[in-house]
């Protein structure tokens, strides 16, 4: 009678544990959707073989990967193995009470360990729900930035760290080629004479407003308007209105101290080639109106280099 009672209690325990096991699996199904590295060497996804440099975020990702790895690649197989061994022990026990007890203990401990591990989600979900959190199905996900937090250098003169690949010389000649040439400089790093980079600013991939203007003209077989805003402004004629501007014309001003020059990218000059320390050489949205406003604020007169005066007349 006592043996029968013990057996019934054991079967009841086994039934409850099994139910809990499968219930836990269902509850934790969301968490199982996480990526689990199968190779232990990739648990910490940084610092090796060209991977990104490690950040604090990688530490958290590493902890999560290690937890998932232990759960899926250590705990599951170990539980499975113990259950198989216990089952075999049970079947071959032939009534040996000692062996049956060992098998029972092994089975109980294995299932209990597995359930404890899996019910972690259940417990936290239940606690969060009890505390009133409405969305408790993604508490195990997190967001952090794995990129390096060192801000890019913004020292005037260093500019865009990824120079464009255009050559500044599209092969053509004449007025249209001036525009094509300067457009092909989009993405070049801003490097100015003011910062002592006189040589670099004339090298492909680098430039400032005057050096890009000069090269767009000369690479198109046109006369060089000059390599500084003061020189270009000295050669330029009076600016009257935007409607008379043609693609390839260059607007320029210089107040004796500073200046700016840009090539118009379209007739009417709604867009002009600009330069910024952060964005490098690129089209500017302000067009001729921006140049008018900037020159006025600097107390300078806006002038124009007519591309047709610098390139062969037949090409314009």
């Amino acid at each position: 009678m006592s043996t029968k009672k013990t057996k019934n209690i054991f079967i009841l325990k086994l039934f409850i544990l099994t139910c809990l096991f499968f219930f836990s699996l269902v509850v934790s199904a969301g968490a199982l959707a996480l990526e689990i590295p199968s190779n232990p060497s990739t648990l910490v996804p940084c610092g090796l073989n060209g991977a990104a440099d490690c950040t604090l975020c990688h530490l958290i990702i590493g902890f999560q990967n290690i937890y998932n790895y232990i759960l899926f690649y250590v705990l599951f197989p170990a539980t499975f193995l113990v259950i198989v061994v216990a089952g075999v022990m049970y079947m071959v026990s032939s009534g040996d009470k000692g062996m049956i007890e060992k098998a029972k203990s092994a089975l109980t401990y294995a299932l209990t360990a597995m359930i404890l591990a899996l019910t972690a989600w259940l417990i936290i979900n239940a606690t969060l729900s009890a505390l009133g959190y409405k969305k408790v199905d993604n508490w195990y996900t997190f967001s952090c930035d794995t990129t390096q937090t060192v801000a890019p250098t913004i020292t005037p003169g260093t500019g865009n760290p990824n120079p464009g690949t255009g050559t500044g010389n599209t092969g053509g000649t004449g007025c249209a080629a001036v525009v094509n040439n300067v457009k092909s400089m989009t993405g070049w790093t801003y490097t100015s004479k003011k910062n002592g980079n006189e040589g670099l600013r004339m090298t492909n991939g680098y430039g400032d407003c005057s050096s890009t203007t000069s090269r767009a003209y000369t690479n198109a077989g046109c006369k060089d308007p000059g390599q500084s805003t003061s020189v270009i402004a000295g050669k330029a004629g009076a600016f009257s209105d935007a409607s008379s501007l043609k693609a390839g014309d260059a607007l320029v001003w210089n107040n004796g101290k500073n200046g700016h020059v840009g090539i118009c990218l379209d007739d009417g000059c709604t867009q002009i080639m600009g330069a910024s320390t952060k964005g490098g050489i690129r089209p500017s949205g302000g067009g001729s109106q921006f140049m008018v406003g900037q020159a006025a604020r600097a107390g300078a007169t806006l002038k124009v280099i007519k591309v047709s005066d610098y390139c062969p007349a037949s090409s314009c």
Binding site: E35, T42, F72, D145, T147, K193, T277, G279, Q289, F290
Partner: protein, 240 residues
Amino acid sequence: MQKRNLFILMTVGILVLIGIVFFVFTRYGNNTSQNADQSSVPNPTVLPSGEEDSEQNIQSVATKIENIAESPVSQQAIKEGAESIDFKNAQGNKILLTDFEKATKISIIGQLRKYLDSKDYDMYYCPAGSDKKDYAVYFGYDVGKGYGDLYSGTVAWMKDWEKTMLPDLHAVLFPNVNFSQSELSQQLQFKDGNYRYAEVRFPDGKIGSINYSISGNGVIISASPSCLDKLVDIYDPLEP
């Protein structure tokens, strides 16, 4: 004897079930691992839907601004005079302006907003003495939408925006200041100077300012004229 057989059958059945479950999850695990191997940095935080990504980005922006506001001025900012705050997602791409707006709860005047690039925006801070910071933001045009009167249009839109610039942008220009509703409603009187500017009265009675400049590439708005000087030098550098 019959109960014993029943028990053995149950155990075998459970083992088979566990085996099936384990097999299914192992296969799933391998699939996800293979996917992870294809990218150099496996990232369990990547979520499938754009909406959830957006939520993460919004949280990331808010956290970054909070951290910057509480951290000391960096050596780089002291050396350069300004430091940009990078807003990138887990993949290293610039977080969209829409998410930046949601995270900071700023509001950009509608006419200008239409012409802005979705990724060409920046937030900066400049050292302002004794570990204080002046903040500034830059919103760049989508150059493809540029047209002949964009500059003069921007001048007009910015003047319209002056009426609500403080409540619309206080979260990025003065992240450390807790304005009340009535303080946010103060009428700013913008004037012409080196830049357009207006004085702002803070809750502690001190006076600050909002200053802005229209660049060839967009607009720059700053909490101090000296910080705006730095940013104008970045976005509209001049040459001899």
